[in-house]
Each structure stands twice: as C-alpha cells, then as structure tokens.
Amino acid sequence: MILGVPAALWGLATLPFLILLYLLRVRRRDHPVSSVLLWQRSAPTLAAYRPSRRIERSVLLLLQLLAAAALVIGLARPALVAHVPAQGDLILVLDLSLSMRARDVSPTRFERARAEALDAVAHLRGGGRVALIDAGPRPQLLVPLTDDRERVAAALRALEPWDAAGDVAAAVVLAAEQPVGPGGRILVWTDAARGSLPALPEAAYRILGTSDDNVGITAFRAMRAPAGAEGLVRIDNFSARARRVPLEVTHDRSSVYRSDLDVPAGGARTAVFPITGSGVFSARITTHDMLPDDDVASTVLDPAPLPSVLLVSRGNPYLERLLGLLPVGRAAETASAAPAAWGGYGVVILDRVDAGPVPPGDYLLIDTVPPNLPATSTGEVRTPLFAAWDETDPILRFVNLTGVRVAKALALTPQGGRVLAGGDVPLLWAYEGGGIRAVLLGFALQDSDLPQHVAFPILVANALAWLGGGALDLAAGETLQVPAAGGSAAELTGPDGSRRTVRATEGMYLLPPFVRAGAYLLTTPAGVRAIAVRNPDPRAGMIRPGLVPVLPGAAAPHPERAALLTQVAVWPWVVSAALAALIGEWVLATRRRGGDA
C-alpha cells in the first residue's frame, strides 16, 4: 500500500474537531411541552451524563467519523503496488540524489524506491540475474550481474542517498553497457528532478515524488576577510510560492546571526554577516517543506589558516622571517634530516636538504628532489626564466612572477604532477600521490631575487595552504586521502556526531566517501583537522519530479514500467466507503425519531 499524497493525512487532524463540533453544535428541534418545570428539575441529574455518554451512544457520530476518515484517506490517494514476476536479467538503478530524501512519498522517495527494488528482486523468476548500480554523483556498478539475490538485497539495504545530485543519466548508460541476456531490463528508480533521462528501449523508469515544495540552504561559507571573518548563507526556494524563511546561524550553541529572509518563488537570497571565533558554525532554516535534510548546513572556520610548519634547513633567514609572520599553527626549525623527527607537523619544508626518500606527508621542497618523487634532476640550469605560470592554480593565486630573476636552478624532469611555472625548465612543480603532497621550488632562495618580490610571501602562503592549511573544503561525494604522518589510526566524526575509526594504509588515511554534507572532524595523533563537506550542486534541492522519457515515435511512457510494477488505485473504493457511510448516516438520521443528523 502506498500513498500518493501522504500530506492529505493531516486531514485526520480534523476528526477531533468533528467531535468537538458534535458536542457544541445546537441543532435541536423545538418541541412544545405543557411545562418545563420537571425538566428543569432533572437538569442537574442530566448533567452527570454529558457529554461522554452521548458520544458513546451515538451511532451517527461514529458514521460521521468513519466517513470523514475514509474521505481523508481517499484524498491521500492510496494505491496497491502489484508486482508482475520479471523474466530475464534485471539491472537495478537507484537514484541516490539528495532529492530522493524528500518525504512527499511515504516515508521517503528513496525508501520507497528501495522497497520496490527489493520486491523486484524477490519477484524475479528463476534463471534471471540481477545487477545493482547506484546513481550517485559518480555512478558505479555496486553488484555485477549475479544469481546471488541476497547479495543484491544486502547491497540495496546498505544504500543511502547522498547530499549531492546523482548522475542518473550516466548510471543508465552504465547499466546499458552491462551484458544482459535476452529480455534483460533496466529498472530505474528516480525522481528525474534534474535534467532529462535517456530513453532506452530496455529501460523502465519509476518516477517518484509529487511535490516541489522545498526551501534549502545551498551554500554556507565561513571565511576570513581583511575586515574580519564573515559568513555567507545562500537560501534557494525551489517551490512555486514565495516563502519567508527564518534563518539562524549558531556557533558553540550560541546564536551569531538571525534573520527572516523573504525568498521569492524559484529565487534565492544570500545573507552575509560578520562572525567571530573559529570552529564549526551551523546554519538552520525553519521551514515546513518536503525535504528537511537541506534545512541544516555546517561549515568550518579554522583557527589557523595555515598549518604547523617544520623548517629543515641549515639556515634560511628569508624563510625563518617569513614563517614568523605568516599565520601558521606553529613553526619550528631543525637541521636534522631524519624523518622520524618530523612527526606532528602539517608541512615539512626541506630547504636544500638531501633527506633521501620522504615518508608520506606534505612537503615544500626547495632546491631538492627526494628520490621517491616522480621527478629527477639532471643537473643545473643557468639563469632560467619564469616564462609562464598558471595563475588559475590556487598555489599561484595572486602571485605575479614578472621580473623574478634566478641565477641557477635544478634541471628538473618531472614524470607526473603538474608544472606550475617555468620556462625552459620547470621552476615550480606540484605533485600529489602515494601519500605525498609536495610543492617543489627548483632553485634556492639565495640564488634568486624572489624573496625581494611581493610574490614570495604570497607564494609560500598559498603553497602552505594548499599543502595542509585551513579547513578542507570538499564536495559531498568526494573522497579524501590524508597523510598519516606516522600515525596508525584516526577518528572521523561526522556532522551527526557519529564516530568512525580510520586505519592508516600505506601511510595514508583513506577516508570513506563523504555522503552527508556538513562539518567533519578528523582526529589524528598530530591534531584535529576540520573538514567542511558541502553540497556541490545547488540544484540538488530541486525536488519537482520529472517525466518518464519517451522513446522516439512512442506516444506514452514505456510500457515496461507497468509490466513490473503496477499500481492499483484504492482510493475510489475508500471514497465509495465514505459516501456509503454518509448515506447510512443520513438514512439513520432521517428515520430515527429525534434524530440528530
């Protein structure tokens, strides 16, 4: 049994009012009597019998309540889902978009989809195989075609929607690539809320959802600005009616911003406000819509924009002075090239130090190339030039290398990573892999006038920020690898407070995909690091269900859908029952002497 319009069940709340009206209403027939003297004298006795006895004895009220309840249930459009046993192979595709958490279908669109998918697996005829594809942000084949239905069912039960928009079209294409046998079909459960779906002959779509009523937080940032830290919240109204949305931003359970925003239908409003302090900030809007999951968002403002830094050098006044000025967590200097002494720092700067292979971690390398990095130095190059640099890269943001002269530099030959700046030879190179994240400057600061340029502090700050500074800002659905820096285990705390232990593998913490948006805390032996996970697609909150794609030349949705899942409308019978109850009440009331219809 499913309900097409579950919100209609709120109408059941009118039943107590019906009883109240029954008690309060004045619908009495005038009846002349010779005197009311004795009736007045019996009134105190009669009072003892009202109103409970009256309710207990009223068949008419019972019929009225039954009629009203049946009418309300009928308006909720109940229907029975009948399953026709499927033949051949089945590929199940479930949309894991945020919009599938909408509650206009009871209990949610996704829960309904999962239940129907489990039913479809259970009703598959013998000989048929089943595969499962999740239509998340990056569709993947969770279970290849198999006869093991329990495995598919277990995978289905483990699925959860993401706080992101799923790529259903790509998932369907992926499903079409699977080697299904004759008569094989693709069953897709989605709300088709964003974009069109591919019309394939073998694909049957089950479109879930009835409402577009949703207002959500689509962006929440906390950032540091020259005038101080500030927060930014964007609210999108995806419904067709304007809404007034109360917004409250809290920090450490204290309110830091509160406002009522008038958001037009289909429009958005952005609030920018100053904030103080650092840590996790939470934003919440108070609305009554079909998707409450996007009514809450979190972000992180890291107390130190840049990580703790260990300078391994035989002496570098430029760097020493600069580290004293930059907002790093902490800074230290050592001449020891032993990696065992580098633990506990976010970034290690190797300044002209040949330390041999470096363990996994974040490194700023100056005029040195560890042997375990995919780059080699074939000698020196005299007076290389900064002929070009990638201004779009975050490491070179606001960095102008014009006029920087270099006396000599390493003749780098990188086999991976990306060259950020250079001319004939790479002068600035970045690498990420094998648990190592590194920025390599191919010349010594003493061999260049870079420290005299404004670009120098900006470049170092950007490099430190990229290597490990600030709060990590990720999109829901992304994965993250964090260098273990000698640690063996870390604890990941989710936005809902759940904790999960992550073991280091090959010197890296391989964090699981971030399904839910919000603020995560990664606690390692080196310290606590905040991770802000945001919803990457502002349209993920669109919940208006789309249409079933129509095959070219076809006039109606694909008939395969009806072949596997058939809805039998129940509401006509329920409404008929309501009418029957009303007629019965009317007949009883008109025939009953002294009736109270």
């Binding site: 005038d30 009846h31 009311v36 009134a43 002497r593």
Partner: protein, 304 residues
C-alpha cells in the same frame, strides 16, 4: 344534545356530561368533615342551632326564649325550665377553582376538559343538594367567574359557563387564590382543579386557603405524557405557558432523570397535602370522568 348558554341563547355545543351520568349524580351529595354555617336553610347540618328538625342539645331557659321549644317532660321531672336545641340544616358554599392556563391544554383528552367535567359533576351535585356553588377560572389571576348558583335549575348555567372556558395565560396559583379568597367572605368547600405546574409553587396558595379555614380539596390533573414523556432525541423543549426553553437530549438516561424529578415532585405534593389537611386526588386525563366521580371522589371522601 346541546345546552343553553347563560345569556339564554342556545348554542350548539356538546354537553360536558352525559345525561345518564347526570342522573347518577342525583343520588350523590357533597361531604364535609365539619359543620358549616350557611346563609339559607339547606340540607346540611349547621353550626347554628334553632329551627331545624334534628335534636341537638338542651340548655337552660333564658328570658326571651321561644316557649314552644321548652321541653315540658324535663320540666315535670326536674322542675326546672329547659329548652330543646335543634341543628339547623343550612346550605353549603362550594367554590370550584379551575386552572385554565395554557398548560391545561395538554393531554388527550385535555386536562382542561377533564377539569371542566369534574367541576361540572361536583357543581351539579352541589346544586342538586341546594348548596351554593361558585365557579371561577384562573391562570395568573382570577378569570371569568360564576357566583352563588343554587338549585338544580342553575345547572345549565353552570354547564354553559364551564363549556366556554378556554386555555390561556400563565399559572400563578398563589395570586389567583389570594384574589379568590378576597372575593369570598364565607367559608366552605374549596375544590381546586389544576395541574400544579406552577413555577411559583403551589404551597403558599393552599396554605392561604387553609388559613381561611376552607375545607380544601385538591384535584391534581396530569396528562400521561407528563408522567412518561413520549419523545426522544435532541430537543428544545418549549414551555407552552412561558415560552421558556430547555435543551435536552432525551434518551433513556434523561427519561430516568425526569422520572426521578417527577416522583420527587408528586411525593412532595402528597406530603404537603397530608401535613396540612388538604384532601388530594391525583388523576390523569385517560381516566374516565365517571370513574373518577363515582369511584375515586367517593372513596376520597368528597362525595357520598
């Protein structure tokens, strides 16, 4: 069968009482528990001693006494003068008070019709026995009245008067009794025919009559539907006299509560009448008037 109106005009109106029933009434007379003092000679022992036929007592002769009443046998035996005393047979003053308020229209036949029939029967018996019969209709005050009829020949006047009574007005028995007593100087038998459905109460009115030493006979007439209501449902009961309304859901529980109130009321009337020496007879409209007169009023001591 028709009757003649008091104005002498013959009107087509059914008689209140059947002629055969009237013949039966000829043999009855009104009973009083004590002697009465009338204005004219009648067929009832009077407290006035003198010229009657029935010996009452002796007393010593006093100057001025009629010589004819000296008992010479006693004189010869006792050698003293004694005169014989006789009870003088005088007429009885009978006052009939009929409640004609709107509540008396209830019942089938109506309470008012039964009251008029009873009043006609009692009044007729009184007239036949040369009693003085007065009739007054009342609601909140005294309405039309007929005073001091005497003799069988006035029976048509009595019946005509009663036939013309119609229900109207609200009941105020106390006020009506006060005015009735103010208009009557002679004591006698007072028969009150009413349903006692008076929001002001009945006790004060009856006490006034007792205070004036009237021998009071209360005939309480009720309709069956007043004893056991024959309606149900959510009703707005409207008082026929006052227009006052009471909202009641009449079901088994309500009827039970009504029965309790009714019994309390009736028992209260009975106790009051017993305590204050008021003869009391309760009846309903479905009891035939002949049964009431020939059986219950005789057993009740009003008739013999």
């Amino acid at each position: 069968m028709t009757e003649r109106a008091t104005a002498g005009i013959r009107v087509e109106r059914p008689l209140l009482l059947d002629p055969a029933f009237l013949q039966k009434l000829d043999t009855l007379s009104l009973l009083t528990r004590r002697r009465v003092r009338g204005a004219q000679r009648g067929e009832r022992r009077s407290t006035a001693r003198g010229r009657g036929l029935e010996f009452d007592d002796y007393r010593a002769y006093q100057p001025g006494d009629d010589y004819r009443y000296i008992d010479w046998h006693v004189v010869s035996r006792l050698d003293r003068l004694f005169v014989k005393m006789f009870s003088e047979e005088e007429d009885l003053d009978v006052f009939l008070m009929i409640d004609t308020s709107r509540s008396m229209a209830a019942g089938g036949p109506s309470k008012l019709l039964l009251a008029k029939q009873l009043a006609a029967a009692i009044g007729y018996i009184g007239l036949v026995n040369l009693d003085r019969v007065g009739v007054s209709a009342f609601a909140s005050t005294i309405g039309p009245r007929l005073d001091r009829l005497r003799g069988r020949a006035r029976a048509f006047d009595l019946l005509g008067f009663l036939s013309g009574l119609e229900p109207s007005g609200e009941t105020d028995l106390t006020l009506a009794m006060r005015r009735q007593l103010a208009a009557t100087r002679r004591r006698g038998l007072l028969v009150v025919l009413t349903d006692l459905l008076d929001p002001h109460g009945y006790e004060r009115a009856l006490l006034l009559a007792r205070h004036r030493r009237f021998e009071t006979y209360l005939i309480h007439i009720l309709a069956d539907e007043e004893l056991v209501p024959a309606f149900a449902g959510d009703l707005r009961l409207v008082d026929a006299e006052t227009g006052r309304a009471v909202e009641v859901t009449v079901d088994a529980e309500a009827l039970r509560a009504y029965a309790e109130a009714r019994d309390a009321f009736l028992h209260g009337v009975e106790r009051f009448c017993f305590r204050h020496g008021v003869e009391y007879l309760r009846t309903t409209t479905t009891v035939p008037v002949e049964t009431l007169v020939l059986r219950w009023l005789r057993q009740g001591g009003l008739l013999q």
